[in-house]
């Protein structure tokens, strides 16, 4: 039952475009526009590169979140999910997993490619990709939790961003920290990377519980 739901969520995400194409185009635009704003100095670009490659997926994930529960609310699917055979926590977890697979993974794969435009070398690119892989589950799961909280509201994108962005700040800090520390002799890699993993594991547990609790309050 869970597998069927995951499969459908991913199929719907591919059909929608706002989950895959839009975040990718948005990310690409960010990477292209950044050098115009900051100037073409290669040194500066490679310095800010990891941060740009992190902010792109972070904002890109936000774009996909509105479509996690909103369509289900509108077409009545959520009613059937709410009184269906699968525990609500698991439904939220599967939705978050689908966001991660359909949105965060393509962005993570695109990041090293886009990074070439920011004068980043192989070490910096692989460091960023590694930290994105470890940190994006936190983005997807916290994001889905926020989507559950705002599920009954129409056009909740702005509120969703306000709720979610503070939770994403530590993920960004440790993510960029780990990316910068990878293969570097002066900056630490292990500590920020492990903290990043800890955030993702924390989100993996907390977000389904909190998201399910938020959906249940709709009953009263």
């Amino acid at each position: 039952m869970v597998g069927v739901l995951l499969k459908r969520e991913i199929a719907l995400a591919y059909g929608r475009g706002s989950n895959i194409a839009l975040p990718l185009v948005f990310f690409l635009a960010l990477v292209i526009l950044f050098p115009f704003g900051i100037g073409p100095d290669p040194e500066t670009l490679s310095l800010v590169g990891p941060a740009v490659l992190w902010v792109g997926p972070l904002l890109g994930t936000l774009l996909a979140l509105e479509a996690v529960f909103q369509p289900d609310v509108e077409d009545g699917t959520l009613d059937v999910l709410l009184c269906g055979p699968v525990p609500l926590e698991l439904v939220v977890a599967v939705k978050a997993l689908a966001v991660w697979i359909s949105t965060a993974i393509p962005l993570t794969i695109a990041a090293p490619v886009f990074g070439l435009m920011l004068n980043m070398d192989g070490t910096a690119l692989s460091g960023t990709a590694l930290s994105l892989l470890a940190g994006t589950p936190a983005l997807a799961f916290f994001g889905t939790m926020g989507a559950a909280v705002t599920a009954p509201l129409r056009r909740a994108g702005m509120l969703l961003a306000i709720i979610i962005v503070p939770l994403m700040v530590p993920v960004l800090i440790f993510g960029v920290g780990a990316a910068a520390g990878y293969g570097d002799t002066t900056l630490p890699f292990r500590a920020p990377f492990l903290l990043l993993c800890a955030f993702s594991l924390f989100a993996l547990i907390i977000a389904p519980l909190a998201g399910a609790a938020a959906l249940r309050t709709l009953r009263s």
Binding site: M1, V4, G15, D75, D79, V80
Partner: protein
């Protein structure tokens, strides 16, 4: 002995006991009585609500609704727009909490845990729970898999007269066709209790008759149904209640409160 005969006997028997003393038997004294009744009742589903009261958006929708529907029975809930029909069905399905009162599902005399109600109830709401971008087939296969049904998607589609629409996306269907595809979900996985909210809305006469036939079959198989509708529905068989009987204020004909989803 035919199934409907058996149902008739079961109803008669349960009515006889439940009419006056059901509560004492089921709740406080409970299990001690069970062996005496279990033979007659073993396969009878019961949906029972007691003292349901709900206030929504500052409006007292209804007070103290008691109802009992047994396997083989259909109850039609009538009432104007905004009289609380949808809210009542949502409470019975567990989608909404009542302000007061309880909902109880029983198999024979054995009460089913509220957390297990999901595997006994189909809720068919205003919306059809279909994804517009996906094909009819994909939608039906999803619900079959998700709800753990074993029915054949093609057969059910043929039964609902939507077999020719299987490979079309839902967005290409008319309102009545979507309603029929939505109703197919109820037949994909077996649930003894059907809660139907305006099941025949948007349907032509032929499709309405089809839905009525399917509900009747469901009843003959020991299932029970509650339908909220302002249209005629299974008139030869249905009991009906009017929400106006439970209204405490002037709630009838209030505009919809927008919380219907």
């Amino acid at each position: 002995m035919s199934l409907s005969n058996l149902n008739g006997r079961v109803e008669g028997f349960v009515d006889a006991i439940c009419g006056s003393a059901a509560c004492q038997i089921v709740f406080p004294v409970g299990m001690g009585q069970k062996p005496v009744m279990s033979v007659a009742n073993q396969n009878a589903w019961t949906l029972e609500a007691q003292g349901l009261t709900k206030r929504l958006g500052g409006l007292q929708l209804f007070t103290n609704i008691d109802l009992q529907v047994l396997g083989g029975e259909v109850l039609v809930v009538r009432g104007g727009n905004g009289s609380g029909k949808t809210t009542l069905l949502r409470i019975l399905s567990g989608l909404l909490e009542p302000d007061a009162g309880t909902v109880c599902v029983r198999m024979g005399l054995e009460a089913i845990e509220p957390s297990e109600h999901a595997s006994e109830i189909h809720y068919f709401g205003h919306n059809n729970a279909l994804k517009a971008s996906q094909t009819t087939r994909a939608n039906l296969q999803f619900w079959r898999g998700y709800l753990g049904g074993e029915a054949n998607v093609e057969q059910i589609a043929a039964r609902m007269d939507v077999a020719h629409l299987l490979d079309l996306p839902i967005m290409a269907l008319s309102a009545g066709q979507k309603r029929r595809v939505g109703f197919a979900r109820l037949m994909l996985a077996h649930r003894p209790i059907w809660l139907l909210d305006e099941p025949t809305a948007a349907l032509d006469a032929v499709s309405s008759a089809l839905i009525e036939t399917l509900v009747e079959e469901h009843l003959n198989n020991g299932g029970l149904a509650i339908a909220a509708t302002h249209l005629p529905f299974l008139q030869n068989r249905a009991r009906s209640v009017d929400m106006a009987d439970f209204a405490t204020g002037t709630t009838a004909n209030q505009p919809d409160n927008g919380l219907d989803w």
